[in-house]
């Protein structure tokens, strides 16, 4: 073991589990399927909207090799991520509301039998009107998806902070524009998979699943099975990407559990790519109308914003999403007067959910686009305009959010200088352009989804006779690196050799509860809980060493693998001896660390004011350079410069990866990704047609880390993953305008969309030319 204290944080190091993953040794849920488990398959609705008169499973049930068949009749307990909006059944009852909604499920001895059983299921239905767009949902005579939801509105939000009327009156320029963003899916690499084992003798269930929130899955599975949470154990193996796709309990997790109990055994379930995409929970299609007031020198005097989101068939996270879309109008610039109206609409499409940048992305894209457009009208540089609207110092936003650290100005400086912005903007050759935008995101929701009074994060360090430190963590590593971060924090505090440390994660029977990997809370909250635990363990060991050394604890210096008397290195005990001393009379040590966001960070007092509340915002600025092909109208992204204020980079290598990943995901939404529906039926549910970018479209991404050292983050750290995304689509459109002179208000900027705009301009130019020929006397009179 090392003689010098090991360094933990601030180190560029590969992810703790990175080598296993890139070499294929890591086992994901489907790799762990027991060979003797039954095969579970879901029968899905072939219709987007229909009343279920009968679900006839008799033929399927009598097929030899079929062990269990379940339908909506087997579970009448609804579920949903928000306690106040649980309106989804694991298997549809009475009505189906989207194409692909689970209706029945079978467990059979093999895949072919399960497949044949599905083909034997008969549905008797009365078809209902398909409400597959915002316009149809809001039409005065529209059929309603849910009782007690008039107008198909899941939630309306209306709030005004400050005085927007006065703000607009004080402006020199007021502009308003509506922006449209297509629905996108997470397109995570690993399709959904789970297996459930019901132990009839003990009446206990063990569920392995690819979740980001094993705790919520645990609660909802117990709820829908009508059993005590004590009877459930949830294990999360490695997860192959998530991005919000698995941030709530998903129907298949409950279905596979119901099947296992019905079959009194183990059932495995591997969803196809199409099924994974139908499970959806992606970013909703949205219409965003923004109105900004600006002074001649670029100061924003007021903001008014209306957002309508096509939320899909069930509540899911919808209320949070529509609240986020308004809340994060604040917290990035110093705007005093902000009005927001949000409408979350029910439609016969798969339920949307919380996708990377939850709720905030399309609002930010619209805001940034209008801000840049107005800057151009006032002949101001867009970067300069953002500087003029910077938040002056630690402050509270009009809607009660606290800004404690703010590195946006440094982010702007970095990308402006590195990209050569001043030399390139407006000066590139025809068909080339450069654009920019900013964005931000929370470092964890300061108020948890389920309020329990418990700490927001808990970490346990176990130390036993062997001297090994087991970090017991419930934080769900879904590729973002939370396992690595907790190990780095423990090593930093204790200074111990890396080989002494193990991270044990996500087994509800072993690891402490964690709320889950959502709202970029883990580094901040779990990181702080880990820091607390490590400091406490250090104190225990220092006291033990002091006893052995027969000095007071404050006379002991910890060097990681040994403890010395201050000023006398010859008097030392090893880590092992300190551990042995610490175990005397107590035995195995379990040291617990916790973290709770103080109440003053938990948001404004208005209804929904907790959404958007956080202890620290990350800030990002990016510059994007593009070329547009005049023949194919295809946009190529040639270079990206992205800067992120993540407070402090506990692992700069991992932070760079997160920034690149976030920017890349924004590029997908900006360039080419969108879900498609044919009469309400999702029809590009595969990786060929969905169209996320590939390596071929990925330009060099130059990354800059800005460290503003947040006063509350662990070692000053904030989030690093979601913030960099939202700037991209706006920066892209800005760059395309610089290249083509065409302004776009709709994403993605597909070749087809750009071709249409170019054709429209060509038509206008031809018409203008004809007019000029006919009326030479008035031409150019302006």
């Amino acid at each position: 073991m090392n003689t010098k204290p090991s360094k933990g944080v601030g180190q560029r190091m590969p992810l703790y589990d990175g080598v296993e993953k890139v070499t294929g040794r890591a086992k994901y849920t489907a790799d762990l399927f027991p060979r003797d488990a039954l095969v579970g398959r879901i029968y899905r609705s072939p219709l987007p909207h229909a009343e279920l008169i009968e679900v006839d499973v008799s033929a399927a049930r009598s097929l030899p090799g079929v062990v269990a068949v379940i339908t909506g009749a087997d579970c009448d307990i609804p579920y949903g991520i928000l306690p106040i909006a649980q309106n989804e059944f694991p298997l549809a009852r009475d009505r189906v509301r989207y194409f692909g909604e689970p209706v029945a499920a079978v467990a059979a001895v093999d895949e072919e039998t399960a497949e044949r059983a599905l083909k034997l299921i008969r549905l008797h239905v009365r078809e209902l009107p398909i409400i597959d767009s915002i316009a149809k949902a809001r039409a005065p005579d529209a059929a309603l998806l849910h009782d007690k939801k008039p107008g198909n509105i899941e939630r309306e939000v209306h709030n005004e902070f400050g005085d927007t009327a006065a703000g607009f009156a004080a402006a020199d320029l007021v502009r308003e524009q509506t922006y449209h963003a297509a629905e996108v899916n997470h397109a995570q690499m690993e399709p959904h998979a789970a297996f459930a084992a019901w132990e009839p003798e003990r009446e206990q269930l063990t569920l392995h699943t690819c979740s980001m929130v094993p705790y919520y899955v645990h609660k909802k599975v117990a709820q829908c099975l009508g059993i005590d949470t004590a009877q459930v154990r949830v294990i999360k193996p490695y997860v192959g990407g998530a991005f919000g796709a698995r941030v709530e309990t998903l129907n298949f997790e409950i279905i596979v559990s119901l099947l296992a109990r019905a079959a009194r055994g183990a059932v495995r379930m591997q969803l196809t790519r199409e099924e994974s995409m139908l499970t959806h929970r992606g970013r909703p299609e949205s219409e965003t109308r923004v109105k900004l007031g600006m002074t001649r020198d670029g100061r924003i005097t007021a903001c008014e914003c209306e957002v309508v989101q096509r939320g899909g068939a069930y509540a899911g996270y919808g209320i949070i999403t529509i609240l986020y879309a308004g809340a994060l109008l604040n917290g990035i610039y110093d705007v005093k007067n902000v009005k927001y109206d949000g409408y979350r609409v029910y439609t016969n499409t798969p339920p949307c959910g919380a996708m990377r940048g939850h709720g905030t992305v399309n609002t930010r894209v619209a805001f940034e686009s209008l801000m840049t457009s107005m800057a151009a009208e006032l002949d101001l540089d867009p970067i300069e305009v953002r500087r003029r609207n910077r938040i002056p110092g630690p402050s509270v936003t009009p809607n009660g959010l606290r800004v404690e650290s703010y590195g946006l100005p440094q982010c702007l400086d970095k990308v402006e200088e590195a990209s050569g912005w001043r030399q390139l903007r407006g000066k590139l050759p025809k068909w080339k352009g450069i654009g920019m935008a900013c964005s931000h995101f929370v470092s964890g929701s300061a108020k948890p989804v389920h309020f329990t009074g418990e700490p927001h994060a808990t970490i346990v360090l176990k130390l036993d006779f062997d001297g090994g430190i087991s970090i017991l963590s419930g934080a769900a590593d879904v590729g973002q690196g939370s396992t690595t971060i907790v190990a780095q924090v423990v090593v930093e505090v204790l200074g111990v050799d890396w080989r002494r440390v193990r991270v044990i994660t996500n087994d509800s029977a072993v690891t402490p509860k964690d709320n889950g990997s959502y709202s970029s809370r883990v580094t901040f909250m779990v990181g702080n809980a880990t820091l607390d635990a490590a400091q406490k363990l250090k104190q225990v060991l220092v006291e033990a060493a002091a006893r052995r050394l027969q000095v007071e604890p404050d006379q002991v210096e910890c060097l990681g693998e040994s403890f010395h008397v201050l000023g006398d290195p010859s008097r030392a005990v090893s880590f092992s001896d300190a551990t042995a001393e610490a175990l005397v009379d107590t035995g195995t040590l379990h040291v617990k660390g916790t973290f709770t966001c103080p109440i003053e960070f938990q948001g404004g007092k208005h209804r929904g004011g907790a959404v958007g509340s956080t202890m620290g915002f990350s800030y990002a600025a990016q510059v994007v350079e593009v070329s547009v092909d005049p023949v194919t109208c295809r946009v190529s992204v040639d270079k990206i410069w992205a800067a992120l204020d993540c407070g402090f980079a506990i692992n700069p290598l991992a932070v760079e990866g997160q920034i690149q990943g976030g920017v890349f995901m924004g590029m997908g939404q900006g360039l080419s990704e969108q879900t498609r529906y044919e009469n309400g039926k999702m029809s590009a549910a595969n990786f060929l047609d969905y169209g996320f970018p590939t390596m071929a479209e990925t330009p060099p991404i130059e990354v800059f880390i800005v460290e503003s050292i947040d006063p509350n983050g662990p070692f000053g750290a904030k989030e690093a993953s979601e913030g960099p995304l939202a700037g991209f689509p706006a920066a892209l459109a800005d760059a395309v305008r610089d290249a083509t002179g065409l302004e776009f208000h709709e994403w993605p900027l597909t070749p087809e969309r750009i071709a249409k705009a170019m054709e429209a301009r060509e038509r206008e130019q031809r018409a203008a030319a004809r007019k000029t020929v006919r009326q030479p006397a008035t031409a150019g009179a302006a």
């Binding site: 023949v631 039926k681 029809s683 060929l688 071929a696 249409k756």
Partner: protein, 324 residues
Amino acid sequence: MQELDIVKPASVAEAVSLHGGAVGARYLAGGTDLVPNMRRGLQKSRKLVDITGIEELRQIAFENGALRIGAGVTLEALCASDLVRRHAPLLALAASQVAGPTHRAAATLGGNLMQDTRCYFYNQSDFWRTANEYCMKAEGTICRVAPSSSRCWASYCGDVAPAMLVLGAEVDISGPTGNRREPLAALYADDGLQHLKLGPGDLLVSVEVPAQSGWTAGYEKVRVRGTIDFPLAGIAVAIKREGNRIADLRVACTGVNAYPGLVPNLEAWRGKEPDEAFFAALEKAVRKEIQPMESTLTAAGYRKRVALGLARKLVGELFESAGA
């Protein structure tokens, strides 16, 4: 997926004999087209004749001024072949644009030339097609792209065929009824359902491509992403130039019809200068040849626009570079 009977012959003769023209039997090479279609229930074949063990199909040779390329040569091998790069670089260029690198490592020339036609209503899962009442190409009766039409409008989306067409390739076919050689163009029919004129058990053995020397040639495809995607439209051009005049010109299209096709009647421009009248006539000729329908997620109008634009651009650029 269904249970399969897979046989693996060692020679062309044995392959043809094992296939025997049996209903539902298919030749299997790289499988990059066939296997995904089988998984989606689009191909119900129960018997597969795996031809990847036949050495003869993997040969590339150059003799008598022509390249002879076995149908079992992978696209990766085709791209890397010195013979191909020297004598028909256009083929390597076109093959390098097929799908992604992992596909090209498995996919073969024969499979690419004969790949199934594609359509938004056809290349879907069994679940999706069941819910959408199928289409005439698989299990249904109407063409979902053009419901009042009596034909199938799925489009051919191979990248190598148009390049082969402009170089005047011929194909050798073995089958239960004997061997034959014919122009590549004769292999194709204007029918999304049956776009290949092959008899039961016919096996494409090799392709003979005259050397490219004297021609300046290029291939470009349009797709949403820079890799993996099939062409929304693809144009291959071969041109000969004498002074400021076009000595000869061939243009072929892919992705915009049920077959890869040469644009007819370009001979009329031999000996003429490529002025604006020529380019207008070229666009007109291409417009007449192609018929993209709403068979892709990208609108047909866009595919038409870029096919015309690409033809104009490629011919112009290649004429310039032929003079350099």
